[in-house]
Amino acid sequence: MKIKISIIALALTGMWACQPELNEFVPTKGNADFTTYMSAGNSLTAGYSDGALYKSGQQNSYAAIIAMQMEAVGRTGDFKVPFMETEDGVGLRGANLVTKMEMGYSVDCKGVASLSPVFANPNASQQELAVLIGTPIGEAGPYHNVAVPGAKVGHLLAPGYGTLNPFYGRFASAAGNAVVNEFANINPTFFSLWIGNNDVLGYATSGGIGDIITPIEGTPGIGFAASYEAVVQYFEASATGGIVANIPDITSIPFFTTVPYNPIVLTEQAQVDALNAGYAAYNGAMELFQSPLRITWALGQNPMVIADASIQVPPGYEALKMRQITAEELVLLSIPQDSIKCGGWGSLKPVPDQFILTSQEKTNVANAVASYNEVIAGVAEAHDLALVDANKYMKLASNGGLKMDGVMFTNAFVTGNLFSTDGVHLTPQGNAVVANFFIDAINEKYNSKIPKVPVSEYNAVLLP
């Protein structure tokens, strides 16, 4: 009797503490060799974020996340990143050097304070930022993440590119190097390449006037197709596997989708009448020139008036090269909001072309992205590489959103979790999402099992 009780008591105490064990996911390298991973690309791969290259942004780049996850499948050694020294970092806005942005309060021309991106250090001098970006760290290399903000595909092949682009110059192992010459310093067994966005983004972010779209045809360094092929070949000097990513439809990123086309709100009939009277001469002239263009105003929201150099007018009437924007056309995030609110932009004065992506420019961008992606798919196939369909994922994010671990990712500015305060580059959480897409594609292609990363361990845009 007593024995039985003690047997039961023993059984009870012995079993209590058992934690169920799971061992479902066993990382394997499959058909790939991940011993030495190297990544190349542009600002997206560098971890540029919030309008600048800064240390924690670089730590959270999708390339750094992939490198961390590859440790489970045989990657060895450091994954060396050319870190910026500071957390405020350095970015390029126009011709000016700036720090990163963060969410804060700014006061507009009407004295209204609102939540918006502000510089982390608005008082940083050009000189100190130039020192930060100009400090050479090439000797501390070689680096595994050789991504260069601003680089187009042809730039990677350009000898001495570091003298033109300080984001490369700072970590170049030799002044006369092209970026592709860095590959042999590492001799990667596996590479990733996400390049080509800037070949069309520069055109788009300048409203179609500040830069050209890289042509498909042309020799390496000039044409997109030959340049892309050449860069991959540099990798294949040592690598036995790799992954490339295509170009998302850049016109669906927040930089192009945040500012509405019709922010001119008229609440009084007197305003409407005054504007209509003001544009009567324009409308009369257009009628005379047998152009269908008219500028009209009504109560409520009105489309902005924009400059459009493509409008045909007789000599002497160049001032009339303007029209109202259509709903399909895009206003860039770079437009000075105060100029709309207080400077009469869009109503009394046409918005300069550099802040608008017109329908024609949008089509040019879409065509370029489509033809680049054909090239990238062709290279991936010819070299038997994994391919990330970034274009497809961007479409999903901008059409209803992508959900992961309870986080909704969309192309909404700040609230969409995917894009940082500059509206172009990824948040840390967005980088984790992209890293998982890369890992999915690698695993599928190479029959490997690289573990994915939980996105909830990374931050989206932080609010004050």
Binding site: M15, E21, F25
Partner: protein, 404 residues
């Protein structure tokens, strides 16, 4: 004395761990627990207030009291799909209890009162685990108070009915995607009603059959406290202090039982429980302020389950009775709507029991229940959160019954 004991139990009660299908906890009598949690066709004395009020009318004794509790030690392990990421719950031990008293007021009529805890769930994940945007921790508790009356139609047939007053508390926390330390905490109480009906029939001296219906009870939280920890800049959109309404259904049960006295010493009990989980279709939260932004409708899509049970009782001698049993409790969850707030897996259970009677009137009832939640990969598709879960629970219990 009894009264103060009731109150101390009420205040001592901790959350019930997730131990069975959904958040039902059937540990409402230690004799029954030892026999695979069967009880519908057993004449259990006052414990029949829960298992089958019909059996109460055929209670052998004039007065019967029964009190007991179990300690649930539960463990859950999670591995995220496509990764080596693992998380474990740190569930506090929870202690469902019961307290019954019944007495014959005439040859035909028996009355009784039961206080018990048939539903509950608690899961405590780390605050920053990978599923924290779905749930960090949750605790559901329900205490049922059931006055009961039973009527003996003849020596073989009895019926009984109980009115149920259910008091529930719910508390849950989840993080929000505004960075570390941000999140929402909801806390509320409910008071609702239900009923418990049973028929008990002994066609022969050796055979008993029972049917028991316990109605669903909707735990309706009205005006619960919602606390949102969000960045200061959006507190005008998401107020830090808010009120919420939500309803969590506790499903109805229809139980069929059969017991057979195979020999003078051996009793066999068979049972089938129909648990009407399909009532739990959607969990909706409505908020008093910023409702258009905060209200949510969360699909759960539970399905009815059928639980087969088998139990044995072996009377070793006048002083010692041994029990054993087992059952299979299928998960009521949909594999694409499996939320880590209620990790309910297909579960295999084994039970052991032992009663010792130091005197003719007093019985000390020990029980032990071990649950194995079978490993399964599940996802909560509305939030795209998937992984493999495995669970285990170890539940010792002790009770005392006294009759005269």
């Amino acid at each position: 004395m009894i009264k103060s004991f009731i109150f101390s139990l009420l205040f001592a009660v901790a959350g019930m761990s997730v131990i069975a299908g959904g958040y039902q906890v059937r540990l409402q009598g230690n004799k029954s627990t030892g026999m695979g949690l069967t009880g519908t066709a057993l004449n259990l004395g006052s414990s029949s207030i829960f298992y089958n009020p019909g059996a109460l009318s055929l209670m052998k004794e004039k007065m019967d009291f029964s009190v007991g509790a179990s300690g649930i030690i539960s463990r859950i392990t999670f591995e995220k799909s496509g990764s080596q990421y693992q998380a474990e719950t740190e569930n506090p031990m929870s202690t469902p209890f019961y307290l019954y008293g019944a007495g014959k007021i005439s040859d035909k009529w028996t009355v009784g009162l039961g206080v018990y805890t048939p539903y509950g769930s608690s899961a405590k994940w780390n605050d920053d685990w990978a599923g924290s945007l779905l749930i960090q921790n949750i605790s559901l508790k329900a205490i049922f108070i059931q006055p009961t009356v039973a009527y003996k139609i003849n020596d073989k047939l009895g019926i009984g009915a109980g009115f149920v007053y259910a008091y529930g508390t719910v508390k849950l926390a989840k993080s929000l995607n505004y960075g570390s330390g941000t999140g929402a905490e909801l806390e509320g109480t409910s008071s609702n009603m239900g009923f418990n009906l049973g028929v008990f029939y002994t066609p022969t001296e050796k055979l008993s059959v029972g049917v028991n219906y316990r109605s669903k009870v909707l735990a309706e939280v009205k005006g619960g406290d919602a606390t949102f920890s969000v960045p200061q800049s959006i507190q005008s959109l998401v107020p830090t202090n808010n009120k919420f309404d939500a309803t969590l259904p506790m499903p109805g049960n229809l139980d069929f039982g059969l017991s057979y006295q195979a020999s003078e010493k051996l009793l066999v009990s068979l049972e089938l429980n129909w648990v009407m989980w399909s009532v739990y279709d959607t969990l909706t939260f409505e908020f008093e302020e910023s409702g258009s932004r905060l209200n949510s409708s969360n699909p759960r899509l539970y399905k009815d389950t059928f639980i087969p049970r088998l139990g044995f009782e072996y009377k070793l001698n006048d002083m010692v009775t041994l029990r054993a049993g087992g059952y299979y409790d299928p998960s009521p969850t949909d594999e694409n709507y499996f939320n880590p707030e209620t990790v309910s897996l297909n579960t295999i259970a084994f039970t052991l029991g032992l009663s010792v009677k130091p005197t003719e009137k007093l019985s000390i009832d020990l029980s032990y229940l071990q649950l194995t939640g079978l490993k399964a990969e599940k996802s909560y598709s509305p939030e795209n959160f998937a992984g493999t879960y495995k669970s285990a629970a170890y539940i010792p219990g002790i009770g005392v019954s006294y009759h005269f």
